[in-house]
Amino acid sequence: MDGGVAGLRAAVVSFARVRRAEFQKRVSGAMKDRFRWIGVVSRVVAAAFGGYVLSSVAAISLALALPMARSEAVLTGSMVSFVVYVCAVLWVFAASSAWRAWLGLGIPAAVLWANLLLFQPAGLS
């Protein structure tokens, strides 16, 4: 088999193997190799797009909620959002499963979004 792809596969497998040890304490049943592939792809998507969504919602929330002048809040929120993005990516790959990775992004994003809808209705277009 192609050495480079085998190397990637081996890395994926070893990474997932580590996660699996913890996961299998709670879940029974075998996990197939292609299931792990999906897990990694899922995490990449979560990190790239989910992370961006979370950091955008954080930027908007801070811009509207920070107790400072409007332009100041916008600037602060936007500058902080990049830190949120990096942390989101780290979380996605540290989470013990791809499901947890998505939940860890989705729940905070949903909470912030709900807060925006309910308490800052004037802000949202």
Binding site: M1, D2, G3, G4, V5, A6, G7, L8, A10, A11, V13, S14, F15, V18, R19, A21, E22, S55, S56, A59, I60, L62, A63, L64, M68, A69, R70, S71, E72, A73, V74, L75, T76, G77, S78, M79, S81, F82, Y85, V86, V89, L90, F93, A94, G123, L124, S125
Partner: protein, 528 residues
């Protein structure tokens, strides 16, 4: 958190680093040389090398603008200084009047347009650094994505480096450490870690309204100009009164501004609606005077000269953003600090390069293993050579093209840029046709030769050769030529070392296995 968290961060570091490694190397290297973009531009237009900036430079620029565009929507003057002796003039006219945008380069000591060979100069490498020469905003988006992944790589690298705090305060150059790529990668990364974090994060901040506009869009309901005005980032162009009126003389306004700023020079002048009764003049202090970028401005009524407003610095977030912007472009730095910026940036470039080489080194098929290395491995290796050695070759070719193309050729600026890309394409194709180790030596040696050739070609094609520029104390041109020579010497030394290593006896069996499955555990065992 130990064990599996560090392992997942190690995995993330390896693969995020690989995916954007070549792109980041290109961004880092062109960013490094961009700290000297004005000097590069001056070298590439040697006809201007002894241009001086007269005391009445701004008045000369104003007179020229009055001549070309007495009535316009906006003038912008990029005031010449000791690093960039040319006045850059920009004119915007109202729709219906042509040309609606005009750009002039004025030599204020002669009052004439710049008469030098047409070139993009250092600006070519500077723009490539953040937009990769890709049209519209796509280049900036790609660079932004790479920057976020770079931040992820830095942080995950720090997490993976087990003894980083201990290593931070340990410096034992006399201890014979293993001269491995991992050591080099770690040392370069750790020694300039604050710089690497700062430059990557502030890079994102400089384009943050492109990458993260949503806070502004939601809070201001899409009214970008309202945000820019409130944050004192830009001034609204007033509507035309359609009543002609004269502009006040600019000199007293400049005196007032310089006095208010404690002696710091004016760097940029915007005139809105010149020749109209609603004219405004905005003076911005020079980039070299303070870290915070474009945060000191004074707005005057263009016809009476009265102060309309000044930016204050009580807007902490806006000031912070200005400081971050200023830290990234480093224009505030004096020559010594600029050189430290350059060294740290070279270290960052080398962190990326050693990381790419390390990826290949860890996965090299063991001696005696049967079969050829896989397609992925060989592709990475070829791209490594073509980028780490090839991009410097392309830069040297760019400089050589500047001297070798005919001076009066109309399209020479584009041809210089084209030769850069052509050289890079060739250097990426070359290692696909040669064994990797040979390809490295050949390209490094060629790079050394090309860089060393730059001052030689300069001597043969212009009258501003090294002997003359050193004698005259023209440190821009002399410094550039000397830097080219130094780079050539360093690359020659590297090529020689790589060649020597290849012909030496193979190293004794290394317990650090070469297969990627063992990378995680080996990185754990290895005190990294």
């Amino acid at each position: 958190m130990k064990g599996s968290f560090r392992q997942s961060m190690a995995w993330l570091h390896t693969w995020s680093g690989l995916v954007v490694g070549w792109l980041l190397f290109a961004i880092f290297l062109t960013g490094t040389v961009s700290f000297f973009r004005h000097e590069i531009t001056l070298w590439m237009q040697p006809e201007l090398s002894q241009a001086v900036v007269p005391a009445n430079a701004i008045s000369v620029a104003f007179d020229e603008l009055q001549k070309i565009a007495p009535k316009a929507r906006r003038w912008l003057i990029d005031v010449p200084d000791d690093r960039d002796p040319i006045a850059h003039l920009y004119i915007w006219r109202d729709p219906g009047e042509l040309p609606d945008f005009q750009r002039e380069e004025l030599n204020t000591s002669t009052g004439e347009a710049v008469a030098a060979r047409s070139t993009y100069g250092g600006d070519f490498l500077f723009y490539f650094h953040f937009d990769l020469n890709v049209p519209s905003i796509w280049g900036r988006l790609i660079v932004g994505a790479a920057a976020i992944i770079m931040l992820v790589a830095i942080v995950s690298g720090v997490i993976t480096h087990r003894r980083i705090f201990k290593d931070f305060f340990t410096f034992r150059p006399w201890k014979a450490s293993q001269r491995s790529w991992l050591d080099a990668h770690n040392i370069l990364g750790v020694m300039a870690l604050p710089f690497h974090l700062m430059i990557t994060y502030t890079g994102l901040i400089t384009l943050m309204f492109l990458y993260m506009p949503w806070g502004r869009d939601v809070a201001y309901d899409g009214d970008q100009q309202a945000f820019l005005s409130e944050a004192a980032l830009s001034t609204v162009i007033p509507a035309a009164a359609n009543v002609p009126d004269r502009l006040v003389p600019i000199e007293p306004l400049i005196e007032m501004a310089v006095d208010r700023w404690g002696g710091d020079a004016v760097g940029r002048i915007d005139v809105y609606r010149p020749g109209d009764a609603n004219a405004l003049i905005e003076l911005t202090s020079s980039d070299s005077a303070a870290i915070a970028f474009h945060r000191r401005k004074i707005l005057f009524d263009g016809n009476s000269g009265e102060v309309v407003s000044t930016t204050d610095n009580t807007q902490w977030a806006a000031e912070t953003r200005g400081v971050m912007y200023g830290l990234h472009i480093g224009r505030f730095s004096d020559p010594v600090l600029r050189f430290l910026y350059f060294l740290s940036s070279i270290a960052g470039t080398a962190v990326v390069a050693t990381g790419l080489v390390l990826w290949v080194a860890k996965r090299r098929p063991k001696p005696g293993a049967s079969g050829k290395a896989g397609f992925g491995y060989r592709t990475v290796e070829a791209l490594n050579v073509g980028t780490v050695a090839g991009l410097p070759i392309a830069i040297a070719v760019f400089f050589l093209a500047n001297r070798l193309l005919p001076v009066d050729l109309a399209a020479r600026a584009d041809l210089e840029a084209g030769s850069f890309f052509l050289a890079w394409i060739v250097t990426i194709l070359h290692p696909m046709l040669r064994p990797a180790a040979r390809a490295w030596i050949e390209q490094l040696a060629l790079a050394a030769l090309l860089f060393a050739a730059v001052p030689v070609v300069n001597a043969f094609t212009t009258s501003r050769h090294l002997g003359l520029t050193l004698a005259q104390g023209d440190w821009v041109l002399a410094g550039f030529d000397l830097s080219m020579l130094t780079t050539g010497v360093i690359l020659a030394w590297v090529a020689w070392r790589v060649g020597r290593k290849r012909s030496a006896a193979p190293a004794p069996y290394d317990s650090r296995a070469n297969t990627s499955a063992a990378v995680q555990t080996s990185m754990e065992q290895r005190e990294c």
